[in-house]
Amino acid sequence: MPAVSKGDGMRGLAVFISDIRNCKSKEAEIKRINKELANIRSKFKGDKALDGYSKKKYVCKLLFIFLLGHDIDFGHMEAVNLLSSNKYTEKQIGYLFISVLVNSNSELIRLINNAIKNDLASRNPTFMCLALHCIANVGSREMGEAFAADIPRILVAGDSMDSVKQSAALCLLRLYKASPDLVPMGEWTARVVHLLNDQHMGVVTAAVSLITCLCKKNPDDFKTCISLAVSRLSRIVSSASTDLQDYTYYFVPAPWLSVKLLRLLQCYPPPEDAAVKGRLVECLETVLNKAQEPPKSKKVQHSNAKNAILFETISLIIHYDSEPNLLVRACNQLGQFLQHRETNLRYLALESMCTLASSEFSHEAVKTHIDTVINALKTERDVSVRQRAADLLYAMCDRSNAKQIVSEMLRYLETADYAIREEIVLKVAILAEKYAVDYSWYVDTILNLIRIAGDYVSEEVWYRVLQIVTNRDDVQGYAAKTVFEALQAPACHENMVKVGGYILGEFGNLIAGDPRSSPPVQFSLLHSKFHLCSVATRALLLSTYIKFINLFPETKATIQGVLRAGSQLRNADVELQQRAVEYLTLSSVASTDVLATVLEEMPPFPERESSILAKLKRKKGPGAGSALDDGRRDPSSNDINGGVEPTPSTVSTPSPSADLLGLRAAPPPAAPPAPSGAGNLLVDVFSDGPAAQPGLGPSAEEAFLSELEPPAPESPMALLADPAPAADPGPEDIGPPIPEADELLNKFVCKNNGVLFENQLLQIGVKSEFRQNLGRMYLFYGNKTSVQFQNFSPTVVHPGDLQTQLAVQTKRVAAQVDGGAQVQQVLNIECLRDFLTPPLLSVRFRYGGAPQSLTLKLPVTINKFFQPTEMAAQDFFQRWKQLSLPQQEAQKIFKANHPMDAEVTKAKLLGFGSALLDNVDPNPENFVGAGIIQTKALQVGCLLRLEPNAQAQMYRLTLRTSKEPVSRHLCELLAQQF
């Protein structure tokens, strides 16, 4: 049962949609769709021209099919045709289709742009709005190139209708965001700012978005908007709820505009002008006051609109971060929302409080809500709200509440949703490190993390605990004892084995005095986990074992036995096998002194930004950000918050290079002392040993490192190296023209100037003029890069017989083209006789060592040598009859590729070179032309007739000349232009 449709009912469409809805299965639906597609295709292809209504209906059906999720590969042309319809709904459907289904077909874009251009120039506001909507919906660079310069004019023109201004403002915004370089700044920008004063609220609403974007890019140029925005905002905020009529939404005056104005103000620091600032503060206070007033309506729309303004106001207050009074008031307001019955408000209050926590003025006020937030973490039923609560706890954490917050988060972790576990783990790890007073608490916390959520403890987290333990000798004994205890558990997470293995290998000696954790006990405990672990962990354990041989000589025999076992020495994994072989040899060949030097305790890690912090930042902007801002809100705690580093700034402030995995990209932690010395020693040790493979295996020290450091990336040299052979091609072997050469050539058949070619490196521009049988062409080669082109050599080549038909004289150009520079080349051309193929232009040069070559068709076609000839109708027909031999005539009937605009057609025919003769053809729609092609050897007289058929979107083109190949050639050249 089709619903009532307003306006035009497209009955066929409604029936089709009904059919689809009645399909019982997906197969039936596809079958019905295929049937429809075949039907539409045959209608579009059929001989009978479709009327606009049918075209609209079929295009709309195609759109419906596409929106159902099926691919559509035809109909674009019909949609484009609808754009030039005079009927609003046909045009509208055409634009909708284009907006939804635009593809990068450049040919089509040109047609679309043409239609848009016509509508923009139509002075019909509804048509103009449609065109502007289309530009805003597509927003492509091509459209930017075509229209970015026109739209500012439409926007600020005194006679533009309000609705057109609104669309123009947002259309321009879209283009500016997509390609800011295309939108010319200028006199219009000042006038745009004054749209803030416009009487029409809709115009202001649209314009503020544009102004905000412009302000973000060029804050200084748009400063005047501050006072305008403040006064506009003030007028809205203080207006009664009914003053703004249709712009009042559920008793809230202009909520959208208010929010946008508050956003605009967030582009700037607080106003400098005291009066403006006073007025603004008054506004902000009014908003905060209104939040306390009883609601004017029970509808949720009323409270949402009101609170949308309130939250945006709070954002601005936080952005200014300079009014303690307002910050605290904001915090109290949010505190009320924390217990509101609306989930949405609780969510937003938690979120907004997160940013308040980073202000020194409101940090303490936020902390007073800790119990409510912890309660939210425990009791909220919606995971997204719980996550906000976790974020807020993280943001409000400082030395005074760290233990409470960390323990709550650990508890939460046990039941937390899988999706957010990793993030919670990172946050706990960071807080534990940051606010650790005694490091045993830190170690406990991390080991708890591994116990509770081992799978979510990323490498960065356990690397970090190792770094910290290595760097702080006061915690090493405790760490060794704790991991030893943790490893007692019958099932422990592999990450625990990794941490335990590493720590015992380094500091196991600190607990070896206790018989319960004697060296053999430590070893057998670790080795009991060995077989259950992955290769990487086993490799780490092997390194632990060799360290044990050094720490505890009494374990040497046992460990050598393990290393010697076939399962190690002949392990299928190369890394394990190599470690076993090398460690075994090291342990049996090296003296204790050598062993002690090689296997010395790891030196402290150089301090830098915590890799975990970096990881959290990568995962999540705001939460991590607020923790980073700690320094600002809590300067007193700065010197103790520094984690392991005595100078705290390196830990708690992001380093400029803040790369994501600090550990990986920074110099290897233990690199400076260990490898060089130890490496040399190893070579000495191995030089007479059986397994000596200098330079192949990692040293004992490096084996540890290679645990910490993932394999080095391929050398950057290899990535940048030029894969192409260095040799230049010889001067004679010119490549074939690039695939688009013909298309580029076609663009120049009816014009003489323009850009012939452009890619990322090079732009080639053309300017040319022709007289009689002579021509002069200037080619401009622009280097678009910042690097010099070398061996730059453009040459012109005459394929086949062309040498005898066309003479082209070129001047050499400089062999170097500097980055950003342009060189010019002059070509003198003489047409000797009629010719069919254009000469080739071959451009070769070296860019950054790599040879580049490019072959284009030089835009010299026979029609360039046309001399227009005026004649009367009588003369024309006489000559027409004289050229009546079948071979003298060439005719083509073809479909229009561009909108059929008489003015454009006229311009093209004139550009082609013939004279246009009026009053010759009885049908005024048709075009008739005449001219003589001048060559040195002969002249060729040409007559032409072009008959457009707008209904069928077809043309018939007829050429008659005294030379058969010329007729055909001209006909082909010209037919491609429409």
């Binding site: 049962m1 089709p2 619903a3 009532v4 449709s5 307003k6 306006g7 949609i17 021209a49 606009g52 759109l63 929106l67 999720g69 005079n86 609003y88 709904t89 459907i93 909708l96 939804v100 509804t126 709005c129 909507h133 805003a136 919906n137 927003g139 492509s140 609705s163 609104q166 947002l170 259309c171 915004l173 879209r174 965001k177 997509a178 609220m201 809709g202 609403t205 649209a206 249709d246 712009y247 939404y249 909520p255 959208w256 929010v259 946008k260 729309q301 949402n304 949308a308 939250f311 945006e312 989930t343 949405n344 937003l348 039923r381 919606d382 997204s384 058929n949 209904q951 069928a952 018939r956």
Partner: protein, 168 residues
């Protein structure tokens, strides 16, 4: 895990989707350039995520690096993706105003109206939101624009005669 949506445009609204409780997409409006494949993927994931949520849950969720604001009206879900710093509540009211516009135009709108007159739903949306930004919030003005267009087309229907003759 998944590819991030690249949004060089920094538009406030990235896209709007309307889908039914059965997960059928009824309207899609994209304010960022994405491939059809990516659009389908996003739609699939998002429809699943939103449909899995319980009625009393909050209307906002973080998804990839965007914020999703959604609300259910009868059998239809309206779902908008906005950027991190954007205002969730005002977006919720963008949805509501759009629903009001549809309701006023169709006269107590239902899902069927949007199915059978999807093109009108798009036209109304374009008058209200352009390029992801609110263009005109006045109900009167938006509907005036749409109704003017309806009138324009009716009068044109009368003056248009039969097919013109085919010369070729």
């Amino acid at each position: 895990m998944y590819t991030r949506i690249q949004h060089p445009l920094h538009l406030s609204m990235q896209f709007m989707l309307l889908f039914s409780r059965q997960g059928k997409l009824r309207l899609q409006k994209w304010y960022v350039p994405l491939s059809d494949k990516e659009k389908k993927k996003i739609t699939r994931e998002l429809v699943q995520t939103v449909l899995a949520r319980k009625p009393k849950m909050c209307s906002f969720l973080e998804w990839r690096d965007l914020k999703i604001v959604y609300k259910r009206y009868a059998s239809l879900y309206f779902c908008c993706a906005i950027e991190d710093q954007d205002n969730e509540l005002i977006t919720l009211e963008i949805i509501h105003r759009y629903v009001e516009l549809l309701d006023k135009y169709f006269g107590s709108v239902c899902e069927l109206d949007i199915i059978f007159n999807f093109e009108k739903a798009y036209f109304i949306l374009d008058e209200f939101l352009l390029g992801g930004e609110v263009q005109e919030t006045s109900k009167k003005n938006v509907l005036k624009a749409i109704e003017q267009a309806d009138l324009l087309q009716e009068s044109q229907n009368e003056e248009w005669g039969g097919l013109s003759e085919d010369i070729l």
